[in-house]
């Protein structure tokens, strides 16, 4: 059982420890970091303007000038994938963060208060859970329409975050129930602390591990869902660069003549989701003692 001692998160450098214990997860993290860098520095890295039409370069195959080829408007696909990383990561992170945080807080509250409050929250969770994810998102987008705040489609974020809420609520509630049973929670209550204080100060930190696992897992889900919605024409709007959108519309029309139009954006989606899943998986193995060897 010597591996167990090596993998302990308490060791001097947790990052190094993670890399050593979870090489696959570390690889995932590396891909995520590269994508994030590309997204942040898109203006510096991308060879072209993502929205500029260039009819002369219409539908050119991958070449030195356009490594991933161009689309029907002559826009550089590599450039649009780099900018698309920005869309994917922003929407993926925001919706997962909002969904997991709202769900997490609901879950803790549900566990903390118990009784009637718990029952009401759980019934609500049941209701939202009964909608298939894509269907719920589809309806929410149709209901909210599209509105952008600071260049981010907040309604799209909401549509993706809502299905995440009940799922993270379930998981966090289960974890919070065991924390709730700890004697120091009763002690805190006896000490006259407010419920809000206890929830935020004592319970929340103790469910951080499942929360972080959920957050990474749902970023992956959110990126995938955003791609599906954009593909159906309900997500991000042209001419904004987004991976799912690059597979829709014109691409479905041209993909036989210009397979690069669907090949690279699809790979980008897969790689991003793959990286987050890999990282999330390893994070779970690493944080959850049950899965440790």
């Amino acid at each position: 059982m010597s591996a167990t001692t090596l993998a302990r998160p308490r060791q001097p450098n947790p990052v190094l420890g993670f890399i050593r214990a979870q090489p696959l997860g570390a690889a995932g993290l590396l891909v995520i970091l590269i994508m994030a860098t590309a997204a942040i520095l898109a203006e510096k890295i991308a060879p072209y303007d993502p929205e500029a039409i260039d009819f002369i370069a219409m539908l050119t195959a991958p070449s030195m000038e356009h490594p991933f080829g161009t689309d029907a408007f002559g826009r550089d696909i590599l450039t649009r994938i780099i900018y698309g990383a920005r869309t994917a990561l922003t929407i993926g992170f925001l919706s997962s963060f909002i969904g997991c945080t709202a769900g997490g807080l609901l879950g803790i509250a549900s566990a903390y208060f118990g009784g009637r409050a718990d029952m009401i929250i759980q019934r609500f969770v049941d209701i939202v859970l009964s909608f298939p994810i894509v269907v719920l998102a589809l309806v929410v987008v149709a209901v909210l329409g599209k509105a952008a705040v600071l260049g981010v489609d907040m309604n799209l974020v909401a549509a993706i975050a809502i299905p995440i809420v009940p799922r993270s609520c379930r998981v966090v509630r289960a974890a919070a129930l065991s924390v709730r049973a700890m004697p120091y929670i009763d002690a805190a209550r006896a000490g006259g602390y407010s419920s809000l204080h206890i929830i935020l100060r004592h319970m929340a930190p103790n469910v951080l591990a499942p929360y972080l696992i959920l957050l990474t897992a749902y970023i992956a889900q959110a990126i995938l869902l955003e791609a599906s919605l954009s593909f159906l024409g309900l997500g991000v709007s042209e001419p904004k660069p987004a991976w799912g959108l690059m597979l829709a519309g014109d691409s479905s029309n041209f993909y036989q003549e210009a397979p690069w139009m669907i090949l690279f954006p699809g790979l980008a989606i897969s790689l991003a989701v793959f990286a987050f899943n890999l990282f999330g998986d390893s994070l779970r193995d690493w944080l959850d003692p049950k899965f440790r060897a």
Partner: protein, 317 residues
């Protein structure tokens, strides 16, 4: 057991009622309704008066609570109303399309179980070796690859390499199994990959967990051949969570086919749903959401009951 089932079924009612109410309210917030889409499409030249008249005919001018009660009354008597787009009964609209969707979902489920169980088991047995890594990468990739993209690639491959494309019209299985399969196997494979990945991961982790349990250790100590241990003891217990996942994912799959049916031009309920949403055909959307919700809660219930039957440790009080 029976009492447990009865209690669970009773709990389904408020959940489904909540789904109904939520769906109903959400749809009415959407600007616009089916009438204008229907009358003005392709440059129809209609006055507001005509639009109002059609609205009245469809009952869209009634107060919302009345509309909701009308719908509820219909649901109780299993009358789903008429599609606001075609005027045909919703049950008929869904009925003609659901067979295809269920067939694809079933095929995907079978494919996934056939792939997932051996793969998950091998991965668990050879844990932390290169075999496990390969399987894990394969399964995590399954979760990552969008099934609609996989579908597009499949079609592209068939067309460029084999100069063949699947038939575009649906033939019922019993009419011509070959014709039927040559159309539906591709979408089943495209969504089956993801499905298989989910199940395989569950199989892997539950076998790992079961292997740690004491009775397996004992069996091992007694020198029983390891594979036998796995097949006899571990498999039975490890399959439980897998059953759960197969069941729950099945309910999700029907919803998930929404995008894939689009790619493969399948006349299933997924495409019907997308069309209904784009036309604001409230009655049809409502019915489809309810249908999927019922499938979901029923699947949940069945999975839990099955758990009780298969695993004597789980006792439903």
């Amino acid at each position: 057991m029976l009492r447990y089932a009865a209690r669970r079924i009773a709990l389904m009612v408020p959940t489904l009622l909540g789904v109904a109410l939520l769906t109903f309210v959400m749809l009415r917030i959407v600007p616009g309704d089916v009438v204008e889409v229907k009358l003005r499409a392709d440059g129809g030249y209609v006055t507001q008066e005509i639009i109002q008249r059609e609205r009245a005919r469809l009952g869209l001018d009634k107060p919302l609570p009345v509309q909701f009660l009308d719908w509820m009354r219909g649901l109780v008597t299993l009358d789903l109303g008429n599609s606001m787009w075609t005027g045909r009964p919703v049950a008929e609209e869904i009925g003609t399309r659901i067979g295809l969707t269920i067939q694809v979902a079933l095929m995907a489920a079978i494919i996934s179980v056939l792939i997932a169980i051996p793969l998950g088991t091998i991965s668990a047995l050879f844990r932390d070796t290169w075999i496990d890594y390969v399987v894990r990468i394969f399964t995590i990739a399954g979760l990552a690859v969008p099934s609609f993209w996989l579908g597009m690639l499949t079609l592209l491959l068939l067309l460029t390499v084999f100069h063949w494309s699947p038939p575009v019209t649906y033939t019922p299985f019993f009419e011509s199994p070959l014709q039927n399969m040559s159309q539906l196997i591709w979408p089943a494979l495209a969504v089956g990959y993801r499905y298989a990945a989910v199940v395989a991961r569950m199989v892997r982790s539950s076998i790992i967990e079961v292997m740690r349990e004491d009775y397996i250790r004992t069996a091992r100590a007694k020198g029983v051949f390891e594979r036998l241990v796995v097949s006899r003891h571990a498999m039975r217990n490890a399959l439980l969570p897998a059953v759960t996942v197969v069941g729950l994912e099945f309910a999700f799959l029907i919803g998930g086919l929404v995008v894939t049916e689009q790619v493969f031009n399948l006349n299933g309920i997924g495409r019907l749903f997308v069309e209904a949403v784009s036309r604001n055909d409230f009655m049809l959307i409502q019915a489809l959401v309810m249908l999927l919700a019922v499938v979901f809660v029923t699947m949940n219930l069945l999975v839990d009951m099955l758990y009780g039957v298969l695993d004597p440790r789980v006792r439903h009080g």
